[in-house]
C-alpha cells in the first residue's frame, strides 16, 4: 500500500466514528423525514403513502361561504408570528456591531466589559426568560414602574407635559425619518450593486419628503399623538398580555440577549482582523472616523455580517419554542406561537408524524430559499480580502 493511500485510509478511519454517528442520528432521520412527509403515520400503525396531501393540507386554501380559508386553521398565523419575530434580526445585528465597535477600543479593563456583555449568552435561558417575564409584568414589572414614574412626574402639569410630548414627537419623527432613510439607502446600495443606478440626489429628496410627511402627520394628529403618548406613560401596556405588544416585547428581549452574545464576539474577531495599515492609508487620504468605517471597516467585516445574517435567518425560523413554552404559552390569542412550536405539538402531542415532517420540510425549504437569496445578494456585496 502506498503512503498516500495509507494516509487516506487513516483519515477515513478518524472520520469514521463521527461519520457513523452522523449517518445514524442525522442523515438517515433526515432522509426518512422527507419520505415521512408524504405519508400518514401516527406511530401506532405502519405509515402509508398519502402523496402531497400533507403539504396541501398545510399550505393550501379552500373556499368556505365565498371566503378563502386556509386548510390548516393555525399554520399561517404561526408563520406570520415567526416572520414578525425575525424582524428584530437587522436591529440586533446593528446593535451587536455597535457593541463590538465599543468593545474593540484599547481601554484599560475592556476585558471586564466584554465579559459583562457576553454574560447573557452564558446565563441559563429559562432563568432569563422568567426574569424578563417579571420585568414585563403589567403591574409590578420594573419597566412599567419606570414608565409610570416618568409619566406621573411629567403629566402632572401641562407645563411639563407639553414640552415632553413635543420632545417625544421630535424623537419619534426623527427616528421614523431615519428608518425610512436607512431603508432607502439600503435599497439604493443594493440597486447600485445590481447595476441599477438611481438619479443623483433622489435619495436625499425622498428622505426629506418622507420626513416632512411624517412631521406634518404628527402635527395634524397632534391631539391624538398627545393622548397616545400620555396614555402610554400614565397607563403603560400589558407587554406580554396583549396581542399588539407581545411580539414587539419578545423582539426587544431578544435584542438584549443578542447584542452582546456570540454575534458581538464574531464582530469583535472580525474587527480585530482588519489590518491597521488600511486605516493608516485612509487617514493619510484624510478620512475621518465615519469615512473610515464605511470605506474600510464595513467592507472588511462584510463576510462576518453575511455569516451572522444567514445564521440568524436560519435560527430565527427555527426559534420560539422556549419562549412560547416558558413565557407566554404561545399566547395571548396564539400571537407568540411559532412554526417550531407548532411542529413540536403536531409531532409529539398529536402524533401526526407525517404532517409534522411536512412542516419541518416547509421550514427547511423557506430557510433554503432565504439563504439562497441572501447568498445571491450577499455574493455581490460581500468583500473578501
Amino acid at each position: 500500500m502506498r503512503h498516500k493511500q495509507r494516509e487516506t485510509l487513516a483519515a477515513y478511519g478518524f472520520l469514521m466514528p463521527n461519520f457513523l454517528g452522523f449517518m445514524l442520528f442525522t442523515s438517515i432521520p433526515v432522509v426518512l423525514s422527507l419520505i415521512m412527509a408524504f405519508t400518514h403515520w401516527n406511530i401506532f400503525k405502519a405509515p402509508f403513502w398519502v402523496g402531497l396531501e400533507n403539504f396541501t393540507s398545510l399550505l393550501w386554501f379552500h373556499r368556505e361561504s365565498g371566503r378563502l380559508v386556509p386548510n390548516d386553521p393555525f399554520f399561517w398565523q404561526y408563520v406570520y408570528n415567526t416572520v414578525f419575530l425575525m424582524s428584530g434580526i437587522p436591529v440586533g445585528m446593528a446593535g451587536s456591531l455597535i457593541v463590538a465597535l465599543m468593545m474593540n477600543q484599547k481601554l484599560k479593563g475592556i476585558v471586564i466589559f466584554r465579559t459583562i456583555y457576553f454574560l447573557p449568552a452564558v446565563c441559563s435561558g429559562v432563568a432569563l426568560l422568567i426574569l424578563w417575564k417579571y420585568l414585563y409584568n403589567a403591574d409590578i414589572g420594573l419597566i412599567n414602574k419606570m414608565i409610570r414614574l416618568a409619566g406621573e412626574q411629567v403629566y402632572r402639569s401641562k407645563l411639563t407635559a407639553i414640552p415632553f410630548t413635543a420632545v417625544c414627537a421630535l424623537f419619534f419623527g426623527v427616528t421614523a425619518t431615519g428608518a425610512v432613510g436607512a431603508i432607502l439607502s439600503l435599497l439604493q446600495w443594493l440597486a447600485g450593486k445590481m447595476r441599477f443606478t438611481w438619479r443623483e440626489g433622489l435619495l436625499r429628496v425622498l428622505t426629506i419628503a418622507s420626513g416632512a410627511a411624517i412631521f406634518i402627520l404628527i402635527g395634524a394628529f397632534g391631539r391624538g399623538f398627545y393622548s397616545g403618548v400620555s396614555g402610554f406613560f400614565v397607563n403603560p401596556p400589558d407587554w406580554l398580555g396583549t396581542v399588539q405588544w407581545a411580539k414587539p416585547s419578545l423582539i426587544l428581549m431578544g435584542l438584549w440577549g443578542g447584542l452582546g452574545g456570540y454575534n458581538m464576539i464574531l464582530y469583535l474577531a472580525a474587527l480585530q482582523g482588519v489590518p491597521t495599515s488600511y486605516y493608516e492609508a485612509a487617514e493619510i487620504d484624510g478620512a475621518g472616523p465615519w469615512s473610515k468605517f464605511w470605506a474600510v471597516t464595513w467592507p472588511m467585516i462584510s463576510p462576518t455580517t453575511f455569516f451572522i445574517l444567514v445564521m440568524s435567518i436560519i435560527g430565527g425560523f427555527q426559534g420560539g419554542f422556549m419562549v412560547a413554552n416558558v413565557m407566554t404559552g404561545g399566547g395571548p390569542a396564539g400571537s407568540t406561537t411559532t412554526v417550531e412550536y407548532y411542529l413540536y405539538q403536531t409531532a409529539f402531542e398529536k402524533f401526526n408524524m407525517g404532517y409534522a415532517s411536512a412542516i419541518a420540510w416547509f421550514i427547511f425549504a423557506v430557510i433554503l430559499v432565504l439563504t439562497l437569496v441572501t447568498w445571491k445578494l450577499g455574493g455581490r456585496v460581500v468583500t473578501y480580502e
Binding site: 500500500m1 503512503h3 495509507r6 494516509e7 485510509l9 487513516a10 477515513y12 478511519g13 478518524f14 469514521m16 466514528p17 463521527n18 457513523l20 454517528g21 445514524l24 400518514h40 401516527n42 406511530i43 401506532f44 400503525k45 398519502v50 396531501e53 393540507s57 368556505e64 380559508v69 386548510n71 386553521p73 393555525f74 422568567i130 417575564k133 417579571y134 409584568n137 403589567a138 403591574d139 409590578i140 414589572g141 409610570r148 406621573e152 400589558d238 406580554l240 398580555g241 396583549t242 396581542v243 399566547g331 395571548p332 390569542a333 396564539g334 405539538q345 409529539f348 402531542e349 398529536k350 402524533f351 401526526n352
Partner: protein, 447 residues
Amino acid sequence: MEEEGRLARALTIAGIVTGTALIILIGVYLVATANPRMPGKTVIRWCVDPNPIRKEQIKLFEKTHPSIRVINDPGAEAQRLLTQLAGDVPPDVMAIYDPQSISLFAKNGVLLDLRPYVEKYKLPVDRLYPSLKPYIYYQGKIVGIPENCGPYVLFYNRKIFREAGVPYPRPGWTWDQCLEVAKKLTKYRMVNGRRVPVRKGLYVGNYDWWFFIWMYGGHLFSPDGKTCTMNTEAVKKGVRFWADLRLKYHVTPTTSEAQSMAPTGAWGGDALLFRESRIAMNISGRWLAIQYREQKDLDWDVVSVPHGPNRVTLLASKCYSIPKTCRHTPEAITYIKHLLGKENQLLVANYGDGMPSLDDPAITKAFMYNPEYPNERNNKLHLDEMKYARVQEFSPYINNLDVAAIMSMDLDRMWLGEQSPDQACEVITSRINAIIRRNLANPNFLD
C-alpha cells in the same frame, strides 16, 4: 516513513473499533435496561407520574407478592408511552390521564381488553363510581381501571371569610351567591391613584371553561360529536357569566393580575395564590390538599363548586391500562388488582392526592376522616360531589389539542375585549366545526 504508516494504520483500526464498540455498548445498555431482569423475580414496569406515594404503593404490593418486582418508570406522557410501544419495549402497566387518549389508544388496538380477566381475577369493576365509565370502557371493552379520582371542588380560605364577616359557603350554593361573596372578598389598594388588586375573591383559570359551558345545561359537542355546540344559547349564557366575573365585576384575576399578585412576581399558579391568601376561593381537585395541609397557618376548607340551573362539576381521574404487547400480563393484572385492593385504596384515601375510585363503605369511611389531619373535616364533600361529577367532553372527530388551541385563542380575544362572549362562542363554534368537517372528509386526521 514506514513507522508513520504503521502508526496511521493502528490509529485507523483503533478509531473504527472504538466508534463501533461505543455504538454497540450504548445499544446493548439501552436494550438491557429497557426491561430489567432479576433472578427469581418477574420485573414489571409501571409507567406513571413519580408521585411520592408510588414508593409506598410498591412496597405494599411487594410485601404480599415477593416474586414480583415493580419498577416505577417515572412519567406517563403519551410521547413516552408511544415511543416505548413503537420500540417494542412496552410498559406492563401504564397510566392514561384523559378519556380522549384512552379512546385513541384503544381505537388503535394498543390496549388489552381486560374483560376476560375481570372474572378470573375478581376485579371489582362494578364497584367503581359510575361517572368513571369513560376511563374504563371503549366500545364495550374494558380498557382501563381507575385507581383514584377527584371531582372539582371549591377551596376557600376560612380566615379571609371570618375577617370579612362573610358566612362560610354551604354545599349546593349557586354562582350568583358565589359572585356576591367574591365581591365582598375582593380587595384593592390605591397606588398613586391607581387601583391595584391585593386579593381577588375567586380564581377561575383560563382553561376552566367546562363549569360555564355546563352551567345552563349546555354542551361543547352534539351527542354524536360531529358538531360543536358552543354557539347555543345555554353555552353563551354561561360564558357571558364567566366573562362578567372577570371583566364586569373584577372578582377573578386576569392573567396579568394573577402574575402580579403572585409572591414570586411572575410565575406560580392558583395554588400559590391561595396559599399566600391572594385569592379567597379556588376551584380545583383534592390533589391540592397535599400542598395546603402542609401549610399550618392556612385555615382552609372545601365546598361544592357553585352551580347554575344545572348542578355539575368536573371529574378528573386516570386509569391503568395494559398494552396488548405486554410480556407479563398475569403479573400486570395482579398488580392492577392490588391497586384496587382495600389496603392500597386506604393508602390512597389517606394520602390526599385523590379519593379512592371504589365506592366501598369501609374505604370511604377511612377517606372521610384522617386522624393525621383532623382539620380536614369536610372530606365527605368529595364523595358527595361524585353524584354531580362529569368528565370533560371530547369528540372523536377532533383532537383535544386543536379544541384547546381554538378555545384559548378566541377566549383570549374575549378577555382582551376584542370580542364579546357571544362572538367568541360563534367564532369558536365555526372554527371547531371547520376542523371537524375537514377531519370527517379526511379520516387521516382522526387517528
